[in-house]
Symmetry: C2
Subunit: 455 residues, 2 copies
């Protein structure tokens, strides 16, 4: 039996005590957020009505390499971290590949995903600022659940706008959030001006992330003592999520393992940005080289078919403009898309890195993703979230290439979460009712036409 | 900060390599299973049509102290074990108790509970015997899910009879089992003679565990190459589950911790029997003393209000008779009972130990259980299964007693699983629609009248 255990756990004393800010090592920094009206860069005071003060500092700071993790957040992390780095012995054996496969499993907490890493940080800073509560949006519900847990722990009100189609299809997610004391509103709602407008324009709409963001921001900025928090895309979120990559690297280093390929699923980029952070840092500093692969749904292909341009972060066009790979802020994946990762844009940090050639991206159709999910569940025992299964698909594909070539590559991928609340999608797959959807060039062109003109 | 970490993980090399058979240390052995017709003790050959051969040996062996865990099962265990022993620092702080609270968390695997420990063992032995498949019953679905996972891994067919009310209320559980390739039939069904009879006698019945057991046994004994497997009650199951207690004890010993009180929820006794095994062993051998507390639902109070007598294990009365604390094989908890642990009887091993004064038992009403569940979820971050929350309730009550007396007792309890598939029950609780139900003495007397007369 190999000396490397099935699961590598760090000791508490080996856990990271600072987040790593990847931007500090980027030669070309991510472009600044712009005011959607004036197209001027957003300053800290511009952002203050929307975000917590300390989070704004983290958002705008492209230079500080490490941010110390406050003691209270470390304490929270210790309830569910360190997360295991798992050697996928069973998967390797079943595939018959000479590749060595590892996955960082972030699903062993009640929120079911890595989102808790940033939710706890954001809730902590909001509480520290003396705020009463926070607002946010959630799609599949992982972020909303994570934020509810964090707010309950730190004693903050939590108001979640949940994309209507998810609210109706995932009553149990909603109920978990209620268990943690959050209020959950289906979006679009009549509670906001933007919600009223969207409902007037599109009476039958089942909502979108972009629309829920607009509503959450409106409530945060119009309610005293409230701010808005977001679970992905933003620089601050990638900073907090660097804990994933730092733990992964520490666990690999502990056993002298050097990965060849690092794979993460990408929606807004929170998991991918966190997982790759320290590895990308080495790559940027010329200390090591890795193949880094982002995996996205073929039905929402921001990296592989999007434009690198300034765009609105939300449908309501009230948020700052971000320079990112985007499909246009009006883009909504087809209703039959069940694989998550539905956001039209992508983290500006990752977008810049991809643009500068530091990483690759692939897109995969959802039936292939669910095939990989079921295969993985049966072999490795963990029922993966559809989002995470994009990374599984790509990891299996790379491992099968190794089988052909005989190369003993070391593959590390991020298993961001569990699929307990995604059984409707699994059922569709089992019943043969799941279809692949790939947007046509014409559809994308129409969506690109909505991009704002920024000089 | 204390030197004891939030989570104690054993290394793989510290994992138990043998199961501990508590019966070897019992002065009064559990009474033998009896043939329901002749009332003669069941021999290995009597049991052979129902159970796998090697499992029968384990079932009947009251003397062998340790059974080596086969390499293949150890390998399976390593996918999700060792499980963490968690120091509930946050819970202690919130309660303001001087007590030190630990919980052994068995929910970090896709089946969501400890059931996988025995499911993998039973599937392994069935495969080793060259069988084609196994049948079983499941109520809430944890056991069925665990068995599906184990059968998928070892390459066995898996046929699950799921209590009809759960089948209908928990479609996602069903879908997880399908993900692992199991066939799931709502019980009672028309597929068996006993199912047909029950449906004829009680056309509107929503089923019961006892009835599902009867159906599963009938299919196993009438289908070549099939045997029946069971997730609780039996001696073999407690043997496999001893891995919980052995890990718990090893983790405590590693830090020199000696518990005062050990608490487990009790339905059929699989978790409780496993958790307490090595501690009870010390107690039986006079090497140490512990308070050991079984916690059961007030709506299904086998220990606290049942009779210690021979009874049928199943409603259909086809299974062997077992001597145990029982409410009568016709007893079914009120439909509003949402807390799990619905079985009318109790493990014969635990029943004997309770009868001989080696452990205590308490019963708790379900609203108090869900209060504890929600409290725990908010403080410790883990959303517990209703079953597990019985132990949480009792642990909190003991910790609050310590707060009154100032005693710094060390409390260990078993957190058997997660509640992701129990959100309907949580919703009822949140909406104030959950009621407590306690059977009247007259109801219990009526049920006791069905006990078989055994000389």
């Amino acid at each position: 039996m190999s000396k490397i255990p099935y699961k590598i756990y760090l000791n508490e004393s080996e856990m990271p005590t600072a987040w790593y800010n990847l931007r500090a090592d980027m030669k070309t920094k991510p472009a600044p957020l712009l005011n959607p009206g004036t197209h001027e860069p957003m300053s800290a005071s511009d952002l203050a009505p929307v975000f917590c003060d300390e989070l704004i500092q983290q958002e705008l700071d492209n230079d500080t390499r490490y941010f110390e993790i406050p003691e209270e957040i470390l304490k929270f992390y210790k309830m569910y971290r360190p997360s295991p780095l798992v050697r996928a012995y069973c998967l390797e054996e079943k595939l018959g590949t000479p590749a060595k496969i590892y996955y960082k499993f972030e699903g062993n907490n009640t929120s079911g995903s890595h989102k808790l890493n940033s939710a706890s940080a954001q809730a902590y800073y909001a509480k520290k600022q003396g705020l009463k509560g926070v607002t946010t949006e959630t799609g599949a519900g992982q972020w909303g659940t994570a934020l509810s847990m964090a707010c309950s722990y730190f004693g903050l009100d939590c108001k979640v706008f949940m994309v209507k189609v998810s609210y109706e299809q995932k009553p149990f997610r909603r109920e978990v959030m209620r268990t943690y004391g959050a209020s959950v509103t289906p979006s679009p709602s009549m509670e906001t001006k933007i919600g009223q407008k969207i409902l007037a324009d599109h009476p039958g709409t089942t909502g979108s992330l972009g629309c829920a963001i607009s509503e959450a921001v409106e409530v945060a900025t119009s309610t005293p003592g409230y701010r808005y928090v977001l679970g992905s895309v933003l620089n601050q979120v990638l900073l907090h999520q660097s804990v994933i990559g730092l733990e992964t690297k520490a666990a690999l280093d502990k056993y002298g393992i050097k990965p060849d390929i690092i794979i993460g699923c990408a929606g807004g980029g929170s998991n991918l940005g966190g997982l790759i952070a320290p590895f990308m840092g080495e790559k940027l500093r010329g200390e090591a080289d890795y193949r880094i692969i982002a995996v996205e749904p073929a039905s929402c292909p921001s990296f592989t078919r999007g434009k690198f341009a300034y765009d609105f972060a939300d449908t309501g066009m009230v948020c700052p403009l971000a320079k990112m790979y985007t499909l246009g802020s009006n883009f909504i994946p087809a209703p039959n898309h069940a694989g998550g990762l539905r956001y039209h844009g992508m983290s500006p940090v990752l977008s810049q890195l991809y643009h500068d050639g530091y990483m690759e991206a692939v897109s995969v159709p959802q039936t292939a993703v669910f095939e990989a999910a079921e295969y993985f569940a049966r072999v490795e025992g963990i029922l993966p979230a559809p989002e995470s299964s994009h990374a599984i698909r790509a990891a299996i594909d790379e491992a099968l290439k190794c089988k052909e070539t005989g190369e003993e590559k070391t593959i590390v991928f991020g298993l961001t979460g569990t699929g307990y609340f995604d059984m409707v999608a699994y059922e569709k797959f089992h019943d043969g009712k799941m279809e692949d959807y790939i947007p046509t060039d014409a559809e994308l062109e129409a969506s690109f036409a909505t991009l704002p003109k920024v000089e």
